[in-house]
């Protein structure tokens, strides 16, 4: 079968590898779609932190935002069957470290990230295998396009869940208009937030935010975020902020616009330290800070099944055989015009 690998920094190429054979507890998946994630590009460019800390090395079998069909299963598999439409966990736990033995798989000290850290072979390939208990079977209502958006969306959902939204009361600010931010805004609205405000610097992505349910959008290039939000909330500030921009520069504004007892949810990594954090202001507000590293996949499937439409996130489709060139181009030009580029394996 054909797979795409990040061979070395800057080089993506197609290789021929044997089609994997599922072990007793595994399923063989035929990949239908795969979304291009910023992490994929960081692996390709070499910027990803885990490519430098000794944990992971080139060539990398990357890709993790996939939608697939089960085509074979090992003899012990009970969770899925041939023909099921599935997506999977972002990491495969070792099941024998102290954390795994305690059932805290997300904290597995040997976890192999699918297509990322300590690489479990990823989904830029015609086929992949996964432990069957790391898979989610999807309802028929969900298309392959939308299914491959569930992985990033499920990170947004974890942030929304940590925001403790009270229907009809909570005012939510989402900072950042990437796929995760936009999905978080849609889910916050679905959860009944009284008002969802999205801030971002790209006008057409702000338009997408509105389309996906944001009540109000702010472009901080044009308006002062703090001023606008204080006015909008009669000086109270916002009850929760879901920070999805990954930009440390946004954090000061976040701390300033939080309401008393507000919640600041941090989703993405920053790549640098947050300098001069006004911790006393944060304490005076009795605020709290929560972080997101994982997925609430089941809630995401449920929300999508209930009608949240994630498909506007896909701003471009390409074929699998175009992906290598496309991605190498993308890292050279540092273009950010797309929200989600979907790779089609049809």
């Amino acid at each position: 079968m054909k797979a795409m690998v990040a061979k070395e920094p800057g080089v993506a190429e197609y290789i021929e590898v044997p089609t994997p054979v599922p072990a007793d507890d595994q399923a063989l998946l035929k990949i239908h779609r795969n979304g291009i994630c910023a992490t994929d590009l960081e692996i390709l460019s070499g910027a990803a932190g885990f490519m430098h800390d000794g944990s992971t090395s080139y060539p990398v079998r990357f890709g993790h935002e996939y939608s697939a069909e089960v085509v074979a299963v090992g003899k012990d598999v009970t969770e899925v069957k041939v023909g099921d439409h599935v997506i999977g966990e972002g990491g495969v736990p070792c099941k024998h470290c102290p954390e795994c033995l305690a059932g805290n798989y997300n904290a597995c000290r040997n976890i192999m990230g699918v297509g990322t850290l300590r690489t479990w072979p990823g989904s830029y390939a015609e086929y992949m295998v996964m432990p069957a208990d790391c898979l989610y079977v999807l309802p028929d209502s969900i298309s392959h396009d939308v299914a491959s958006l569930l992985e990033p969306a499920a990170i947004g959902m974890n942030g929304v869940n940590k925001a403790d939204i009270v229907p009809g009361e909570t005012i939510v600010l989402v900072t950042g208009v990437g796929a995760i931010g936009l999905a978080a805004a849609a889910f916050a609205k679905h959860r009944g937030a009284k008002k969802v405000i999205v801030s971002g610097r790209t006008p057409y992505k702000l338009e997408l935010a509105k389309k996906m349910g944001a009540d109000m959008v702010v472009n901080p290039k044009e308006e002062d975020l703090v001023d606008v939000l204080m006015k909008e909330t009669d000086g109270h500030g916002v009850d929760c902020i879901i920070e999805c921009s990954g930009s440390v520069a946004v954090l000061d504004d976040c701390v300033e616009v939080l309401a008393k007892q507000g919640k600041l949810i941090l989703i993405s990594l920053y790549g640098k330290k947050y300098t001069n954090f006004d911790i006393d202001a944060f304490i005076f507000k009795e605020a709290d800070m929560r972080t997101v590293m994982f997925h609430d996949t089941l809630d995401t499937i449920k929300a999508v099944d209930e009608g949240v439409d994630l498909s506007p996130l896909i701003t471009r489709h390409i074929r699998f055989d175009e992906a290598a060139e496309f991605m190498m181009d993308l890292i050279k030009q540092e273009r950010k015009e797309n929200v989600k580029v979907m790779v089609d394996f049809d």
Partner: protein, 348 residues
């Protein structure tokens, strides 16, 4: 009646005031004890931030860590009756704003703090008045000494409550060995923490913490805190860190000591920004940060009823009439006390 006030920075002095008369919703409280708090000393010295932001001005009727007995009540006073031993909350609602009129006193729009910010007249006085809704009755068998420790202990307890300790499982690190830190460590044990580690730079305070039931003491002058925490937790780190030192330089070690999905609870203020917060390290461990402003007074009363002894925190007793001079001396030279208790027995 006699009250101790801070007339201007550096000048605590005794003043005669008329004995207050409780309004309809208030109780008149005769004060028996008052603990000296670091905030009191910041008001005396003038460095308290609220003395500079336009909210509060000298002279200040300070004092807020008290134990008293109700001597009279207004006709609508709730919660307490004459003869009750009481302690009170630090934040007093106005009773008149739209939220108070709805009974939502916690979100009062015009609060005053007892003896501090926007000053509700405080407890360095023979008597004070307070709305009954902000008072808590203390059982008879809890001494005035213990009762006057309830206020600082209640801040510690809120921190412990926010740490969400799982009995028999959680490992807690408390940084700071003031009254709040040591009380927090003792309450972690009371809540069933599997192991409680405390860190501080003063050996005799660590010894008091040990005597109050803390499992492991660390003096970071002598050993590396993060290393010790990792050793004590088989490399997992602490499930929760309760930061009570108020020292911004401790935060890096706190963050590094946290376990996966650990929680840091900040009790206190720093007076400066956190210069370099390793936010990615915090994210990778999926940690959370919580802060404490509130007081969990009923939980402390319960802990005291359950036999937790907080009196080792009192390292000195002085008389009310000595208090002014003691504070002036304290401005010149710090003592190594944890809690100095002011005794009002001369009026009793």
């Amino acid at each position: 009646m006699k009250a101790l006030i801070v007339k201007e920075p550096g000048q605590p002095e005794y003043t005669e005031f008329p004995k207050p008369v409780p309004k309809d919703d208030e109780a008149l409280i005769k004060i028996y004890r008052n603990g000296i708090c670091a905030t009191d000393m910041e008001i005396v010295s003038g460095i308290a931030s609220f003395m500079h932001d336009g909210t509060t001005s000298y002279p200040v009727r300070f004092g807020h860590e008290y134990s008293g007995i109700v001597e009279a009540v207004g006709k609508d006073c709730v919660n307490v009756k004459v003869g009750d031993k009481v302690v009170g909350e630090g934040v007093i609602s106005c009773g008149k704003c739209e939220n108070c009129l709805k009974g939502d006193y916690k979100n009062c729009l015009d609060t005053k703090c007892v003896g501090t910010l926007k000053t509700w007249p405080g407890s360095y006085a023979e008597y004070m008045v307070l709305p009954g809704r902000h008072l808590h009755v203390v059982p008879e068998n809890i001494s005035h000494d213990e009762a006057a420790l309830i206020e600082p202990c209640a801040i510690a307890m809120t921190g412990v409550n926010k740490a969400k300790i799982v009995p028999g499982e959680s490992v807690c690190l408390v940084t700071g060995v003031g009254a709040i830190g040591i009380a927090a460590a003792a309450f972690c044990k009371w809540r069933g923490a599997k192991k409680v580690i405390i860190s501080g730079r003063t050996q005799y305070k660590l010894d008091i913490a040990k005597a109050m039931g803390v499992d492991v003491c660390c003096n970071p002058r002598e050993q590396d805190l993060v290393e010790l925490v990792m050793k004590e937790t088989d490399g997992h780190g602490a499930d929760c860190v309760i930061e009570c030192s108020g020292n911004i330089s401790v935060l890096d070690d706190c963050m590094a000591s946290l376990a996966h999905r650990g929680k840091i609870v900040i009790v206190g203020l720093y007076g400066k920004p956190y210069e370099k917060f390793d936010i990615d390290g915090f994210l990778f461990k999926e940690c959370s940060l919580d802060v404490v402003v509130d007081h969990a007074i009923p939980d402390v009363i319960q802990a005291l009823k359950d036999g937790i002894d907080v009196t080792p925190l009192i390292t000195r007793h002085i008389k009310f009439s000595e208090c002014g001079d003691f504070m002036k001396q304290l401005l010149k030279e710090k003592t190594s006390d944890i809690k100095v208790m002011v005794d009002y027995d001369e009026f009793c």
